[in-house]
């Protein structure tokens, strides 16, 4: 089945079975292995992607649901060699240990900061509550998101 959608800013189409899971399309068909799979049941958040800017779980989405959507995976955040501010903050705060949960963490953080530009620590924890880190590195992850949120936004830096 032909499915047309936007992936990381580019319009693309794929020909896949309609019930293929989006996580499998990303990882196996499109070789975008930044999206991880862990639980496969919607509990861990490792497979988080942005669908029209909103965090969703690619293990619980089927191919047809991509039709016409604007999808962002972790590969789509950086602009060339310049990391997204949330990615940069994760690097600077040592928020990455084994790294497996990090693509999902970062995409959830991007969604959170889009809705709540200056979240408190409690709001950050709530915003990331669908993403599990088994290295238990939450403290530094929260630090990183807080640091990213305190950077001037594009609008603020213009004015």
């Amino acid at each position: 089945m032909r499915i047309d959608f936007k992936l990381n800013g580019k319009a693309i189409f794929i020909d896949v079975p309609p019930d293929r899971r989006v996580v499998d399309i990303m990882r196996e068909d499109l070789r975008l292995t930044g999206t991880k799979e862990s639980c496969g049941t919607g509990d861990c958040g490792a497979c988080t992607i942005l669908v029209d800017g909103e965090s969703r779980l690619s293990c619980l989405m089927l191919a047809v649901q991509l039709q016409g959507r604007d999808i962002t995976t972790i590969e789509g955040l950086a602009e060339g060699d310049s990391l997204h501010p949330v990615q940069q903050a994760f690097v600077e705060h040592g928020a990455v240990q084994c790294g497996f949960c990090i693509p999902g963490m970062i995409l959830s953080a991007v969604d959170l900061l889009d809705r709540t530009p200056k979240p408190g620590r409690k709001e950050i924890r709530e915003g990331l509550s669908g993403n599990l880190c088994r290295c238990t590195g939450y403290q530094k992850i929260v630090d990183a998101v807080q640091a990213a949120s305190s950077l001037p936004t594009k609008d603020e830096s213009v004015s």
Partner: protein, 291 residues
């Protein structure tokens, strides 16, 4: 391979269901797709309702509000009319699952899944919600307490879908409360939960009360004797402690992986005793109830 249909109109949907009467329907996929992958169900094909326009969003009428079945929990809790009129539902939907689950899961899905632990259900019971069910033949509207028949079982016949839920506006309730106790804060099914709406007088007397518990029976549990025991009395620890004994006798929980029946009975009562502290907290929302 299973075919997956993505109807945009009722006409498309009825045509698909006529050809594929055994299709399984889903909107968010957070329950059905997990069950399919685990091998619990094996439907011949799927119908995804996320693009069916008529099931989306919230519509206000002078004295009631319609919430489309495919409205996600995130859209629900953001909606100004819902925030203003139904804080108890906002509280329930805000602690359901996790942010991505709330971006995907829908109120209609929470209702038809009919889990005793469904986080929107106790709120819908205390608000006396009615559900709208549609088929190619027509529409019927029935109270949610008649629609939900048991764990995982609802009164949906072949060819019917849940179209949405109706709530009557009622600004009389000045305390809205939902509390859930689980093994962890996010991504947890409740061990027990309580939704409450109250009319509390200036002298802190309970004039009206509607209470509904989750996870302590085959479906949501309402207990008239407990409501009667607190109405007309001071909303005090003394009143609530006495009524909590009735709660422990009234609920019918089971032992499962999350908690024992005995513990659930205890928590169901304890949730009630916390109402006085909760109601005494400062009033912050637009209609005088706390969010």
């Amino acid at each position: 391979m299973r075919n997956v249909f993505l109807p945009r109109t009722f006409e498309d949907l009825w045509e698909t269901l006529e050809k594929e009467p055994d299709a399984a329907l889903y909107a968010g996929g957070t329950d059905l797709l997990v069950k399919i992958r685990a091998g619990c169900v094996d439907p011949p094909c799927l119908v995804c309702l996320e693009r069916l326009h008529a099931l989306q969003g919230i519509r206000e009428e002078p004295d009631k509000v319609f919430i489309g079945a495919a409205t996600t929990h995130s859209r629900l809790v953001e909606h100004p009319a819902i925030r203003e009129q139904f804080p108890v539902l906002v509280r329930g939907a805000s602690v359901l699952g996790s942010p991505p689950i709330r971006h995907m899961g829908t109120i209609g899905g929470n209702i038809v899944t009919a889990s005793p632990a469904g986080d929107t259900l106790p709120a819908l019971y205390v608000m006396d919600a009615a559900v709208e069910v549609r088929s190619a033949a027509g529409t019927r509207i029935l109270p949610i307490r008649e629609f939900i028949l048991g764990p995982g079982t609802v009164d949906l016949r072949k060819g019917e879908i849940l179209c949405g839920v109706w709530l009557n506006k009622n600004l009389e309730w000045n305390v809205h409360h939902y509390e859930k106790v689980g093994r962890r804060k996010a991504q947890a099914c409740s061990v027990a939960s309580l939704a409450a709406v109250l009319v509390v007088s200036e002298t802190f007397e309970t004039e009206k009360a509607r209470l509904a518990w989750g996870s302590v029976g085959p479906t949501v549990v309402t207990l008239q004797e407990v409501e009667d025991a607190i109405v007309g009395k001071q909303l005090s620890n003394e009143t609530l402690n006495a009524a909590s004994t009735l709660v422990q006798h009234g609920v019918s929980p089971i032992d499962d992986i999350r908690a024992s029946a005995e513990y659930r009975r205890y928590v169901a009562g304890a949730l009630l005793t916390r109402l006085a502290d909760y109601a005494a907290a400062p009033i912050v929302s637009m209609n005088g109830s706390r969010l």
